[in-house]
Symmetry: C2
Subunit: 331 residues, 2 copies
DNA sequence: CGCAACTTCTACTACGTATTACTAAGACGT
DNA sequence: ACGTCTTAGTAATACGTAGTAGAAGTTGCG
């Protein structure tokens, strides 16, 4: 008969009380080795697994976390991999909740998630303002990977745009003076951070900026932007917020008969799958998303347990220099 | 006091019994509109949510599904998006379990997942043999997206290699006679299916095959394979199992001074992010992974509920013709 | 008016576990 | 021999819900 065995069944078979079975499974002191062995053997024989729903009701803990994810162009797999793996090691299971960026009422949905009491913590990879927490003491921990501060500037490891500054300085060192930025959508903190870093670097180094164009993650748009440039902008350095935009920019340049990197140097971001095989291969910023995912999850779990927050990870982003960047060709 | 409200609290506030509250929330007949309204208002006031652990214990249903995922090179985001969205609409939550392809004992881990009784169903995007089910009647439903049949040939929508046949026929129509296949790892049913389709098409049409090379998803390997070709193979048509491999092959061809598509035509698979901006843009097979994910989840849920399996989706894969393919240049 | 049928609600119980309070039995010191 | 302390186990209970059996009130019909 296919009835799921309970701790009572195990107790009966082992000749002990249900309490003893429970003690064995929760690892409590004061059980003799002989009894423990008997219980474990009976449990194995019946293929017993504790009923997590019952346990959860008794302990008032669910052992479950939610990850809020904007299923969109960006590659979330490494982030998820890091987060899920870390959570599992800590004994949590992870549920994935889809929260598209475009959807109305992000904050409301996250609020609901928190208020549902079904999760001990919620980790959001969607850029959303910190939601209000439910009134209860037992409010789950919440952690957003990217958060807006009051001035809508981005914070968080994802949004660290210093590699962009470093790339621009290197380009200047190679002889570049004229720059163009192809930006991502302003709903993305990371895109905003890169745009701001671009503008402030132009300002600080006294460079010529042809403009800030774009505004979405479409390579077609990037290509169109390059086609719309005046004919006398060469040599030019294009700082794209993304490898897709960079690829579009390269395509557009080549279509106009401009050589990359001879006439136009291009940088991207994300180290997309085909970037290193692109012709020319694309200079980009590699993000260690798996490590970032794992780190975020560690922070969340520390918050749940009241532990001290783990140290911030460093070197999550590294510049990968490739063929799409060179000194401007003498004209 | 931050105590979570229960149905008893709601009942007290609404002046009814706990049973009535339960009836309202489970939508049972025989509750007057006035009473229902009173209950809902009290619940809203207390911000009451049914405790799913208690409900689950009572109903013996968890409302949870697991998705087993090989976090590896392939882009799983659309698959997950489709699957998670569909499950949510059907009232299920989805947990993500990482099961790397390389790990030992796949079947064991999936068995454990099934035997844990924590999930009503398990959907696997990892290519694994069908695991044995636990003895209980209440065994959860299991569905693997890709399954091996007894001869280790791949089945399942992912592994339908007919677009490859169609691409080869078109290439033959353009005048191609000499082919090369760059294969993926044989642990992937889809890779095996494409290799087999390649070989049988070569056979059927009496073509010349330079070989089947590769064996992983690395573009570097693909590039090396092209470099290793003899100098007199032109014109050549390269059928790569993947856009990454295709990109590597194009890179290798260009490095050897061969023009693509003039000397070498190349096809890929997956429509990777940068494929349409590649120079030349890559002819590929677009997979509607989101639709496939949603369909797989519908199948799983139908199996759980004992419903009839939904009809197989068609047109999940479509060929996208791009610049990397043309008639061989006259030599 | 009386009985049946229906509507609307309530009292009570079971689900499987973790844990508190308690008991029985030795061990130990005086 | 007696009381105390320790060890190893048991009995009993609460967690919050869904659903069964039944009660109270209302309507229908002869």
């Amino acid at each position: 008969m296919g009835k799921r065995p309970t701790s009572h069944d195990v107790a009966r078979l082992a000749g002990v009380s249900q309490s003893t079975v429970s003690f064995v499974f929760t690892g409590r002191e004061g059980i003799s080795a002989a009894t423990r062995e008997k219980v474990l053997q009976a449990a194995a024989e019946l293929n017993y697994r504790p009923n997590l729903a019952a346990r959860s009701m008794r302990t008032q803990r669910t052992g479950r976390l939610a990850v809020v994810v904007p299923f969109s162009g960006l590659n979330l797999v490494p982030l998820l991999e890091g987060a899920v793996g870390t959570a599992r090691e800590a004994g949590y299971t992870v549920e994935v909740v889809n929260l598209p960026l475009e959807s109305e009422g992000h904050a409301q949905e996250v609020d609901d998630l928190l208020a549902s009491y079904e999760y001990e913590g919620v980790l959001s990879f969607s850029p959303i303002p910190t939601p209000r927490l439910p009134a209860a003491d037992s409010a789950p921990a919440f952690l957003a990977l990217t958060e807006f501060d009051e001035e809508m500037h981005a914070t968080g490891a994802f949004s660290d745009a210093t590699p962009l500054v470093e790339m621009m300085e290197r380009l200047v060192g190679l002889g570049h003076r004229r720059f163009l930025h192809i930006a991502g959508p302003s709903t993305y903190p990371a895109a905003v951070a890169r745009r701001d870093a671009y503008l402030s670097t132009v300002e600080r180094l006294g460079l010529e900026s042809v403009g800030v164009v774009g505004g979405n993650w479409s390579g077609m748009t990037a290509k169109a932007c390059v086609h719309a440039l005046p004919g006398d902008v060469l040599p030019l350095a294009v700082i794209a917020a993304n490898d897709i935009l960079a690829a579009g920019a390269i395509r557009g340049s080549v279509e106009r008969g401009w050589s990359v990197p001879g006439d136009v140097s291009v940088t991207g971001w994300d180290d997309a799958l085909l970037s290193n095989h692109f012709i020319p291969s694309i200079t980009t910023v590699f993000q260690d998303r798996q490590r970032l995912g794992a780190h975020s999850m560690r922070r969340l779990i520390a918050a749940i347990r009241g532990d001290e927050a783990p140290e911030q990870e460093t070197d999550l982003q590294t510049i990968v220099w490739r063929e799409s960047v060179s000194a401007p060709r003498a004209r």
